[in-house]
């Protein structure tokens, strides 16, 4: 279960959203400037809303009413940024392993070999991020977020920068992730077609407000 409530103001932009997803895959849709990335940042702890509450499978990450606001490093969200943000001075393998040393030792652990296998990263491990294609970078970013053993994956437009063939490929990787690792996913997209294939719940945002919610289960 994913629950996000936020009231937030950033200059002229006002966000007021309350979203509850019963399923494991929540899609945030809407035109650019609707507040989708801001919501992801609030879940990750990179933006602090004036009032808000974020809960993932029973773990409360933020609750301003009781003064609870976990710092980003304690939230254990695997964030796949729209601009990916791979570490340019580390090879693919070191990028993938970055979050592992900080992950708690108890608790479920994503198997490295399994994740590398599933995302097809084997041949890329010794390469530098600058030498990867767009689709390869996308898969490395997903793998890096996944291997930090997150309680939730956040994906900001994971398919936007790709051509149609790559898009289908990454889409099927994300589907496999969802099914194999059973980690809840919140992803942002402006294309309804890819949303319907992946999501269990959809929230459509516009001008900082939720204008429609749907459950596809």
């Amino acid at each position: 279960m994913i629950s996000i409530e936020a009231r937030h103001r950033q200059g002229d932009f006002a966000l007021e959203a309350s979203i509850r997803a019963k399923g494991a895959t929540l899609a945030l849709c809407g035109p650019s400037g609707a507040g989708k990335t801001t919501l992801l940042n609030i879940v990750a702890g990179l933006s602090r809303p004036r009032d808000g509450r974020v809960e993932v499978n029973g773990a409360v990450l933020l609750d301003t009413s009781v003064g609870l606001d976990l710092p980003p490093r304690r939230r254990r969200v695997g964030y796949v940024f729209q601009e990916l943000r791979l570490f340019p001075h580390l090879k693919v393998e070191a990028n993938l392993l970055y979050g592992r040393r900080f992950a708690p030792e108890d608790g479920p652990s994503v198997d490295f070999d399994q994740a590398v296998d599933l995302l097809g990263l084997g041949p890329l491990l010794t390469r530098w991020p600058a030498r990867l294609s767009g689709g390869e970078k996308q898969r490395v970013a997903i793998g890096r977020a996944l291997l930090a053993n997150p309680r939730i994956l956040l994906m900001d437009e994971p398919l936007a920068a790709l051509d149609d063939a790559r898009r289908m490929e990454i889409l099927s990787y994300i589907e496999k992730l969802r099914d194999v690792f059973a980690i809840p996913i919140v992803f942002v997209s402006h294309r309804l077609s890819e949303v319907e294939r992946l999501a269990s719940d959809i929230a459509v945002l516009d001008h900082g407000r939720v204008v429609e919610t749907r459950s596809l289960q």
């Binding site: 990750a44 702890g45 990179l46 710092p71 980003p72 490093r73 304690r74 939230r75 254990r76 969200v77 695997g78 964030y79 940024f81 601009e83 943000r85 570490f87 340019p88 001075h89 970055y98 979050g99 900080f102 992950a103 600058a130 890096r144 977020a145 930090a148």
Partner: protein, 241 residues
């Protein structure tokens, strides 16, 4: 002086006192720059990445040695770190470290005078590191010191090395603060710069002054070229990403 003999003395090997001054200069500049590096990195990081009250004041204080007459810096060092100064007494009683009229004082003067250049170079290179990469490291669970050690510092490394070299080069040229704070004692505090000054004060000392001048130019130039190459590498890497 005849032209021929002047030229010959220019090419003559260095005298033992000259060697002493050259080696002491290198020692003072190396230790001064290296010892101030941790402070330089810490202050550059604060100025580049944190906001706090009195930030402008700290920035001003750091840059003060760049704009004050060096003799003022030297005098303040003498007041603070001389044997009767509050810091001087504290260092002497806690670890037996004496600055006044010792080579350690010359290293301290070199460190203070080179500090603005060091902080400036490091600050610029930290500011050039994409803060979004640091955010990404945070979301992966890294605490702030690890973010700095694994992301910020490696990406800012060429700038950190450039800052170190600039501080070293500035220290080689240090004169005013050094001579005020630790005087000009051959074998203890006489560096290339103060040795050149001494040589110009005695009749017939021009050739010695010229020889040391060439050494000073060579060291400073080599350091600046090294810093320039590193700076070029930083901007090239910034364009690659």
């Amino acid at each position: 002086m005849e032209q021929g003999s002047g030229f010959n003395t220019l090419l003559a090997p260095f005298s033992p006192p000259e060697w002493t001054a050259i080696l002491l200069s290198l020692k003072v500049a190396t230790i001064g720059a290296a010892a101030s590096l941790p402070f330089g990195v810490a202050i550059a990081y604060l100025l580049a990445r944190r906001s706090f009250p009195c930030k402008t004041l700290l920035n001003g204080l750091v840059h003060l040695p760049l704009v004050m007459p060096p003799v003022v810096t030297g005098w303040l060092l003498l007041l603070g770190f001389g044997r009767q100064g509050p810091f001087g007494r504290a260092f002497e009683s806690c670890c037996g470290l004496v600055f006044s009229f010792r080579w350690t004082g010359a290293a301290l003067a070199a460190a203070v005078m080179g500090f603005p250049l060091m902080v400036r170079a490091i600050r610029l290179s930290i500011e050039a590191v994409d803060a979004r990469l640091e955010q990404a490291a945070q979301t992966l669970g890294a605490p702030a010191p690890m973010v700095f050690a694994t992301i910020t510092a490696p990406l800012a490394l060429p700038g950190i090395v450039a800052g170190l070299i600039l501080a070293f080069a500035r220290a080689i040229g240090e004169f005013g603060a050094t001579i005020t704070f630790v005087a000009n004692i051959p074998g203890e505090t006489q560096t290339i710069a103060t040795a050149i000054y001494s040589a110009t004060q005695i009749p017939g000392g021009e050739a010695g002054a010229a020889r040391l001048t060439i050494v000073a130019i060579l060291i400073a130039f080599a350091a600046l070229v090294a810093a320039e190459i590193l700076a070029a590498r930083v901007s090239r890497e910034a364009m690659d990403q």
